[in-house]
Symmetry: C3
């Protein structure tokens, strides 16, 4: 159950409103004015709740659910109990998200500049922004309209944020040009100098890091994630990218539109990812590589070569996922009957 | 040697007091009133120090130690030099810790609310708390008695802390209900929204994250570790859990009592760990899995399936540790005599 | 192109000055007074820029460059277009860095103690330091001359910094003795207690962590990296060490001079690395190991044994890199012609 101390209790909506929102026909045998007022998982939902089914692991929960509405694909609609209204969609999770977003809208940003923030007289803050206590906004920073800047966040000289950005607490932003509607979670570090030095027998010689971080629109960046600025070129994050927590992105990396980097991924310098690339948790990608559009990378893989668009790869060193499955099976066979030395 | 600039010089204690504390009989040939006033490693300890032996790698150090007292298992007692008092225990490291805790007690929490903190008038702070400079305590936060809140720590609206919690600097706490005696190290991020969105060809649709983080009693959370709040259900950390630095815990994960997560472990969404599970460094665990009580997971393993209670597993993909050892040996044999292509 | 909003436009320098700086003879057919005023990558550079070639992957860019000067090894000098001045060096990247450092010198530290910082009356701050807003400097802290302390950085009681240290925003320093010219990036955590407890069936018993972190001269520490203080001994980082982002260094670890730890490396307790060790990204090293001077460790490797000096190792568990290459090839052969089960 959603805790009303943290999330404001929603206003009820009707079946008709839900169907209009998700573009699903109202089932002819159901009352379009029946109301719903919450979202819940299948096992916790009651008659006033909206839920969804999108992972076959939870089939038992589906069969026994008491939810009022369940979004479900046609394949599983027969498993929905008769007490539940089944709404059929190819994308049940998207529909669920649409309803949840209406019931629990994002916190409204309003005009509130804390007296405890430290804001340069030469910074340019847009309309209807929140600047929280102990934030630091340095000279020549530009912040667009309707932005939220959390407590203790530091935006260093010259950085630019677009409109409707939501920057949580304890974020550091430096040498960065950031688009609209970018959401940065607590403790992310954007724009510090990259790991750039020349190694030889004389010891390490540090190379000045003279590039920026350029981030597109509608990007999410996870908690305690680090994105270094470019060395001479820039580090670039495309539109619609989703980056999870504790991810490392080195200098000059470029991430294409709508790509997804799951937690603890690390990408070395100057590597380029195409659009809609998905890197699962703890993947490591070496430097100076090209990873094509739509490439899918299994968790913990280690990439040492370029990857053609559309491939799915796994393992360390990474190989086509089909070969990786074969390898796993061959290895299992090899040890059959062997005693542990 | 313990640096007295950082750790207050302890008052000496006697052999009798040490034996009483650790429930070990006083050796009949030793003076119960002999005093000791420090702890040290075997190689650095002197006649006034207490040390311990619990790792066979350090046998040479044991044989040559000058320590006054050494806690040791019966197996190794013969290796202790005659100038050292050997105190025999099945758990020498625990005994050592008990003595060290008496000699170097934790910093006393006392009543001190910084004028430089930002505390909502609607927050509820217990007795004898410390709130450090630039901490932010938002409305409806509840903090129990005898808590320490470090500099710059942010506790967002509605979160609850029990008694005797010690929260270091730069921590972010949001949407969280936290028990007693919880210790959170610097830079940990608790309760930010999870990595939840629906992916399809229309682009990513973000799902509101409407759950909480619920943390039991006597839990430690490492520096820069990230724990996301639940999506609809809650993320739960049981009693007595120990979490190291840079660990990632995704939304809806549940960790059973007394489990241990070593540095850089990552656990994907909705996975459940039983009690006394141990995951060594850099382990990755996929989403929606069940890991039984007492499971031990070797470093860098990647889990893609449920694991029965009591198993020890290793590798990526993880297999029983016995099979993993065989695999390692088989692979070594296969390359014998092969030239590098 | 370097963005003049973030990096001050440099004063031009002559070919003669560049050659003097890098100790390369002025080519006899070139005008020593020709001026240059920027640095750029091969593909973006123009006639007034200085560039370099040090990675064979970028040979096409070299052949087509329009850069004014290119540092290059003798091996590739024939590939430099005739419109470009080729300056031959065994270390082209070092030469490039030397020029870039002259054109874009580091920000000058000057005397500026923010009124918004919280500084104990018992702290001892050197000459010509910057203390930024909301920094916290506790009692008995000693800071050398010409140090920069970023916003929100916390330096806890008794810690010592040498001269010319540059500590970015949101850093936590505790129980630490730090040398000269140390650069710490945002969000690094230095000196929190290590992950030390005794496990037995009675539950976990926490061991007081009574050591320090001791850091040499000319060290870089990455963003959101964590370095725990020693338990009884100290955690030690040698001179000239380079540590990238999100690295974990456990209690009592010792890192020798000039070693390099790439992003997301994790080193378990009490392990000792020699001098000039290189650990690539996501490497994991178990506890209580000795890694010799000059050892090179491939990305994602897992070390479970001591390594002799000068070895290059790879894999998890790590083996000599030559064996690891053979293993990869043998595995590829084993699956040839096999169908996916």
């Amino acid at each position: 159950m959603i805790d009303p101390r943290f999330f404001k209790e929603p206003k009820p909506i009707t079946l008709a409103q839900i169907c209009e929102l998700t573009k699903i026909p109202i089932p002819s045998d159901k009352d379009p004015n029946r109301t719903f007022k919450g979202v819940a998982s299948l096992s916790e939902a009651g008659a006033m709740d909206v839920s969804h089914f999108h992972n076959a692991k939870y089939l038992e929960e589906l069969k026994n659910t008491k939810t009022g509405i369940c979004f479900v694909t046609s394949e599983y609609v027969d498993q929905v109990p008769s007490s539940t209204i089944a709404l059929i969609s190819n994308h049940p999770y998207r529909c669920f998200g649409q309803v949840a977003s209406i019931l629990y809208p994002n916190i409204q940003v309003f005009n509130n500049i804390s007296e405890n923030a430290f804001i340069s007289a030469k910074a340019n803050i847009g309309k209807d922004c929140v600047i929280s206590p102990f934030a630091v906004i340095e000279e020549n920073v530009v912040i667009g309209n309707n932005c939220y800047i959390g407590s203790h966040t530091v935006i260093k000289a010259g950085s630019v944020l677009g409109e409707r950005c939501y920057i949580e607490s304890h974020v550091t932003i430096s040498h960065a040009l950031i688009g609209n509607q970018v959401y940065i979670k607590p403790g992310a570090r954007i724009g510090q100098p990259g790991f750039g030095f020349h190694m030889d027998s004389l010891g390490h010689f540090d190379i000045p890091q003279l590039g920026l971080v350029i981030i597109g629109n509608n990007v999410h960046i996870g908690a305690n994630t680090t994105i270094d600025r470019g060395s001479v070129a820039n580090t670039k994050i495309g539109n619609g990218v989703r980056i999870d927590n504790l991810v490392q992105i080195a200098h000059n990396v470029e991430i294409g539109d709508n790509s997804v980097l799951v937690a603890q991924v690390g990408i070395a310098g100057s590597t380029k990812l195409g659009n809609f690339v998905i890197a699962a948790g703890q993947v490591g990608i070496a430097g100076h590589l090209n990873i094509g559009d739509g490439v899918k990378i299994a968790a913990q893989s280690g990439l040492m070569r370029d990857v053609e668009k559309g491939e799915t790869i796994a393992g360390s060193p990474a190989i086509p996922v089909r070969d990786w499955h074969k390898q796993t099976i061959v290895l299992q066979k090899l040890i059959k009957g062997k005693k542990h030395a």
